[in-house]
């Protein structure tokens, strides 16, 4: 629990109304600039962690600090302003179906009161970064899953939040597209943003060689940096390693 931790869970328990445990005295912290995987089977508490972090849920017990701030001190009316400091990416993309790619990303800026001029400057930049320059005026239902997830990441990152949460970002995507998405998240991490990714894709996690938190029945059962912790590799090296020899397409 260093002073520079962005996320700090202290004995956090979340009990649901049904009696099920979402989290059971989970304690962990994530340092600034980290790229952390959270793994565990369905119902292990990954999503609970995410929803607690964006204050969609309140913990039953324990303390959550984000950037040193106790979340229980944030009033309901301040929640929208708190959320603007966190980018969120979901398995089901959660795009606004009635808006074009451009407008979906622009919405995150409109919410925070950016002027139209700023929006016109920032949105094309972030869409170029995510490789969507040619899809500006398409609607979400005209895009592939991978492209939709890129839009969602662009929207999460356009405000340059210090923390990016991704809940099963590759859950609906094929392996090749998943690698692209992970690569994009890694690139965002390299700009200094702390990234927390929840997934049950063990194979991917093993190859990424990043810190891994494993949850089981709401408890943290593993917290370690797996394999070679190559912090400064380029995104190209990163992607190559992910595809790796073992991932070579097998032709039957």
């Amino acid at each position: 629990m260093s002073a520079s931790s962005v996320i700090d869970f202290r004995a956090v328990t979340k009990k649901y109304g049904t009696g099920a445990f979402g989290l059971d005295e989970a304690t962990f912290s994530v340092d600034r600039g980290d790229f952390v995987f959270m793994i565990g089977s369905t119902g292990s508490g990954k999503s609970t962690v995410m929803r607690l972090l964006i204050k969609e849920l309140e913990p039953t017990d324990g303390t959550i600090l984000v950037a040193g701030r106790d979340l229980s001190t944030i009033k309901r009316r301040q929640v929208p302003f708190y959320r603007r400091n966190i980018g969120v990416v979901f398995q089901d993309f959660k795009l606004l179906p009635n808006r074009t790619v451009y407008d979906n990303v622009a919405y995150a800026l409109q919410v925070t009161g950016h002027s139209r001029k700023e929006i016109r400057a920032k949105v094309p930049d972030i869409l170029r970064l995510t490789g969507l320059s040619t899809k500006l005026h398409n609607y979400p239902d005209q895009l592939s899953g991978g492209e939709q997830q890129r839009v969602s990441i662009a929207r999460a990152f356009v405000n340059h939040p210090p923390l990016l949460l991704a809940d099963e970002p590759t859950g609906n995507l094929d392996p090749e597209t998943s690698i692209d998405i992970m690569r994009l998240l890694y690139r965002i991490n390299r700009t200094g943003t702390t990234v927390l990714v929840a997934t049950h894709d063990h194979a991917m996690v093993d190859k990424m060689r990043r810190r891994v938190l494993e949850l089981s029945r709401g408890r943290v059962v593993r917290d370690e940096a797996t394999g070679l912790y190559a912090r400064d590799e380029s995104t190209r090296e990163f992607a190559q390693r992910l595809r790796g020899p073992s991932e070579a397409p097998q032709i039957v």
Partner: protein
């Protein structure tokens, strides 16, 4: 506020363009409801107006002794006026009464040499329903059959007719009020439900907006403006329909059908105003309120 009205207006117009079907459903519902309300308001008014004007004719006739003097007339007049539930007392002298009767039936009164009619007081109660109390105060002042003043010969006795008239008027008024209440309740529920449905279709959108960090009012304003626009459009459609119906159907009929030109109905201009305010108000408040449940994410 960092966000201009223009921004919210564009947002709500975009939403309506992209959700044309639910918006149209809401528009149609509000239009139909407003047309029904617009037809119903004058009908209720005409009915209760007719009932009230019938009830307004309820009174007690007080007949003086045939040989009552002017002094006695004046004394009785004063006594009647002091009664608690009396609103107005009108004196009709025997000469006036005779002239009145003669006009109605000249032949019968031709035969009479003198004037058989007494001086009469028409006593109007403060409200029609207390007419029987007033009658009792005059005719049974000191016990059954004991007049308020010895100079009074008799008091008109239309107890049965009066009771029946009062029952009918009360029934008409209560029925009209009940119907109006039911209609208003049905309209509000119908409009509220339509709005709720079209919002339900967009609840995921609201959820996403909250995740991106939009404040409640930032999400709500476009919906409220959308409600205003839909409500105004519906009110205008309803008003145009009603105005056309009045000019094309009602006005030609009114000249040969007395009932339609009943005196105490609302004018077309105030009616338009009421419909416009109701349409815009219910839609805007409805969408603002219905959204609240989806905002609790």
């Amino acid at each position: 506020m960092k966000h201009s009205l223009g921004f919210f207006l564009r947002e709500s117009l975009r939403a309506m363009r992209r959700n044309a079907a639910p918006s149209f459903a809401a528009l149609a519902t509000v239009t139909v409801t407003l047309i029904v309300v617009g037809v119903f308001i004058p009908i209720v008014q005409a009915t209760t107006g007719a009932a009230n004007s019938a009830a307004g004719k309820v009174m007690v006739d007080v007949y003086m002794q045939r040989h009552a003097t002017h002094a006695q007339d004046a004394r009785v007049m004063g006594e009647l006026r002091r009664l608690p539930h009396v609103q107005r007392v009108v004196f009709e002298s025997k000469a006036q009464a005779l002239a009145q009767q003669r006009r109605q039936d000249p032949l019968a009164y031709e035969l009479l040499s003198g004037n058989p009619l007494p001086d009469t007081f028409h006593v109007y109660p403060s409200t029609p329903s207390v007419v029987l109390t007033v009658r009792a105060e005059i005719a049974d002042a000191g016990g059954p059959g004991q007049m308020l003043d010895p100079a009074i010969a008799s008091v008109s006795n239309h107890t049965q007719d009066t009771k029946r008239l009062l029952t009918v008027t009360r029934f008409v008024t209560i029925t009209a009020a009940l119907l109006a209440a039911l209609l208003i309740a049905a309209s509000v529920l119908l409009i509220g439900n339509t709005i709720r449905l079209s919002l339900y279709a967009r609840r995921r959108e609201v959820e996403v907006m909250k995740l991106v960090g939009a404040t409640d009012w930032f999400i709500r304003w476009p919906f409220v403006i959308e409600g205003v626009v839909v409500g105004a459009a519906a009110a205008l459609t309803a008003i145009v329909t009603l105005a056309l119906a009045k000019v094309l159907v009602l006005d030609p009929l009114a000249s040969n059908w007395g009932l339609i030109s009943a005196p105490h109905t609302i004018g077309i201009v105030p009616l338009m105003f009421v419909l416009l305010v109701a349409g815009v108000g219910v839609s805007a408040i409805g969408s603002g309120l219905s959204l609240r449940r989806f905002l609790r994410v």
